[in-house]
């Protein structure tokens, strides 16, 4: 069914169609309407789930940790300060190898107070052991949420769906909404490494020898590595059933014959693609590698697809004292890159900006690390 949905409502629909059984969340702009929609669905019995109205984000993730450990498909969502407030649980859930899905509607971190998008909040999850994806549009936010349950449950790792504040969360787009029957046929029964149940005297999370911690981390690292193949396979199988494939860990856009490759992620990639189309007409061979996943990180794809290209990484985040976070990540795989920092705190960056940016890049007029647009930072 084709219908008009905002990103937040699309995620709520995906949670419903994935038959999540327990939802716990605390409201924060711009994530709030996901929570409101799900609460409404639960109350109207459109979804057979419990909704736990927790008193904080720390408790939101703690509660779904409990419900997931007990064996039920569970979901939460947050943004920015909410994510930071639950940060301890972010790590605990991953290290405990519990499958669950969380949506992170990306929002900048204060002060100053600001509810608009950048990607710094999501990227604080980088080292924690979550599989981290990022949507470009509302349809993809929906698809990633459904796929997230499958990937998470197969990998035994938690899964997060990132999407930009307002540009996706509150912007209505036409979405192809699959039927319950089709999602049921595609999404297998929940599976997980262990459960906490009465009369089964399992102890989880106790103190152990140091080697015990080290082994668990190594297992986790290996599972995360295997998740690369899993993400690509799930993307392919989803494509077979629903007719949409994105390319797995990365999406290529007019990349093959490009002299200049732009690496970026999130909603603004759509504007950048428009800019690429325009520049192509002007015979400038630009293409894009869109990161759909930060973790696991697609080193192999980057090395292969960006070989012998001039690479510009456009970051909507910054690691203080260094460079853009995607810049760091991409350099770790392919070495020398140029890094633009733009759109911080939700500053609008449109098609014209990207056109000018990519043109300047091709003309070698960008600094190695350039805050965009230059005149704002004089």
């Amino acid at each position: 069914m084709r219908t008009l949905l905002t990103g937040n409502y699309a995620v709520a629909e995906a949670v419903k169609l994935s038959r999540a059984r327990v939802i716990a969340a605390y409201p924060i702009t711009p994530q709030t309407t996901i929570v409101e929609k799900l609460a409404e669905m639960v109350e109207k019995k459109e979804i057979d789930a419990e909704f736990i109205r927790v008193e904080s984000e720390h408790s939101a993730l703690a509660a779904v940790y409990g419900s997931a450990v007990a064996g039920l498909r569970s979901f939460t969502a947050t943004s920015s300060h909410g994510l930071l407030y639950m940060y301890e649980m972010v790590w605990w859930v991953a290290n405990a190898r519990v499958p669950l899905v969380m949506a992170v509607v990306t929002r900048t971190i204060g002060p100053p107070w600001n509810i608009h998008t950048d990607h710094t909040d999501l990227l604080t999850m980088r080292d924690s052991g979550w599989i981290i994806s990022m949507a470009e549009n509302v349809q993809e936010a929906f698809d990633l949420t459904v796929q997230g349950f499958r990937i998470s449950e197969e990998a035994g790792l938690p899964f997060t769906v990132g999407m930009d504040a307002f540009q996706l969360s509150h912007t209505a787009e036409v979405v192809d909404l699959p039927s319950q029957q089709d999602v049921d046929a595609w999404l297998p029964e929940r599976r997980q490494p262990y459960r906490i149940e009465p009369e089964d005297p399992v102890t989880v999370g106790c103190i152990g020898p140091n080697e015990y911690t080290a082994k668990l981390r190594c297992n986790m690292a290996r599972e995360m590595e295997k998740a690369k193949e899993l993400v690509n396979r799930v993307d392919e199988e989803f494509g077979k059933s629903f007719g949409r494939r994105y390319g797995g860990l990365v999406e290529e856009y007019r990349l093959e014959d490009a002299d200049y490759a732009v690496v970026m992620t999130g909603a603004w990639s759509g504007d950048a693609k428009d800019a690429i189309d325009m520049l192509r007409k002007e015979k400038l061979r630009v293409g894009m590698l869109r990161l759909r996943y930060f973790r696991p990180f697609p080193q192999k794809e980057l090395r292969k697809l960006l070989e012998e290209k001039e690479v510009l990484v456009v970051d909507r985040d910054f690691s203080m004292g260094h460079m853009g976070i995607l810049g760091i990540e991409v350099s770790s795989a392919i070495g020398d890159i140029t890094n633009v920092i733009a759109g911080i705190g939700g500053v609008d960056v449109g098609v014209d900006d990207f056109k000018m940016m990519f043109r300047k890049f091709a003309d070698k007029k960008l600094r190695k690390i350039e805050w965009w647009p230059e005149e704002m930072f004089l």
Partner: protein, 301 residues
């Protein structure tokens, strides 16, 4: 000899099996190890343990000191994790007694979590085994540390009041709240039993004297726990629709029946060097607490 009626219990009524196994790594004279034995009266227990002394008592991988399911969780999260488990079990029709066993530290740092779960009337039992300081990290002052008690972060004696956690929890309008003491195990067991027959959020505040933390000999845990009750410094009560001072504390409604407070205080290193004025001040605080609870008993008959 224990005073009062329903605190007595025949030996064959005591739980046969302990969910806490012998040979666990608790300290000598540990009050938690005493209190945890009482959990054996619960059917299908699932134990949630935030960071604290009981994290250690639960044993070191690959061994485990409990023969019931145990989920270790971050410090402030316990009542929320328990809420999630309760939601799943409810959905799946799984019968379980979910017990959060925490110290006063977890109750401090997780106070919002505790309050949120109480407001939602989650179907869980929370026991705060209160040794009146952060003992697992080495005796630092907590919200429930007594006024003037010396801890490593209040070396000159705590300057703030002791928080009445159980009364605060009661004010959440939960169906069951009680205080208990490791010195009166049958009373604690009976309270756990009654709590287990009620649905919703149940809270028990267990007084747990800690030998190294309070600085007394490890053979005296029960004796000191009882002195706290006999001097009136720790008052046992129960609310489940009505509020009542429970048996071990009943005789001490009458102040003249109480053992002199000095008997309790002098046994503990943490109160060493208190002036006479300080002791009198503590006595007046205890008197105030009695007035408060007796008024409650009057109101919630």
């Amino acid at each position: 000899m224990v005073a009062g009626g329903d605190v007595s219990m025949k030996i064959d009524e005591l739980p046969r099996r302990s969910s806490l196994l012998p040979g666990n790594p608790s300290c000598q004279g540990c009050p938690h190890a005493i209190g945890l034995k009482a959990l054996s009266v619960l059917e299908n227990p699932v134990l949630i343990i935030p960071a604290g002394c009981t994290t250690i008592i639960a044993g070191i991988h690959p061994k485990a000191a409990f023969n019931v399911p145990v989920l270790h969780v971050p410090f402030a999260s316990a009542a929320a994790v328990a809420s999630g488990l309760a939601a799943s079990y409810r959905k799946e029709g799984v019968e379980a007694s979910i017990v959060v066993w925490m110290g006063d530290g977890a109750a401090d740092i997780g106070f919002a979590t505790l309050s949120g779960a109480a407001v939602r009337n989650e179907d869980i039992i929370v026991v705060v085994s209160d040794n009146e300081a952060y003992m697992n990290t080495g005796i630092q002052s907590s919200s429930t540390t007594s006024w003037k008690a010396r801890t490593t972060t209040s070396p000159g004696g705590k300057s703030e009041e002791k928080k009445d956690l159980a009364a605060i929890m009661l004010m959440h309008r939960i169906p069951y709240a009680a205080t208990a003491s490791v010195g009166y195990l049958p009373d604690f067991i009976n309270k756990l039993k009654r709590a287990s027959e009620i649905d919703g959020f149940r809270f028990i505040h267990l007084h747990s004297p800690c030998p190294p933390g309070w600085r007394f000999d490890s053979s005296k845990t029960v004796e000191i726990a009882r002195l706290a009750v006999k001097t009136g410094a720790w008052i046992l009560w129960e609310y489940s629709g009505r509020f009542r001072i429970t048996s071990p504390s009943k005789p001490y409604k009458d102040g003249s029946k109480r053992v002199p407070l000095e008997e309790y205080i002098k046994t503990q290193g943490r109160f060493k060097g208190l002036s006479e004025e300080d002791v009198e001040e503590i006595k007046s605080k205890i008197e105030e607490q009695w007035k408060f609870l007796l008024a409650f008993e009057e109101i919630f008959r």
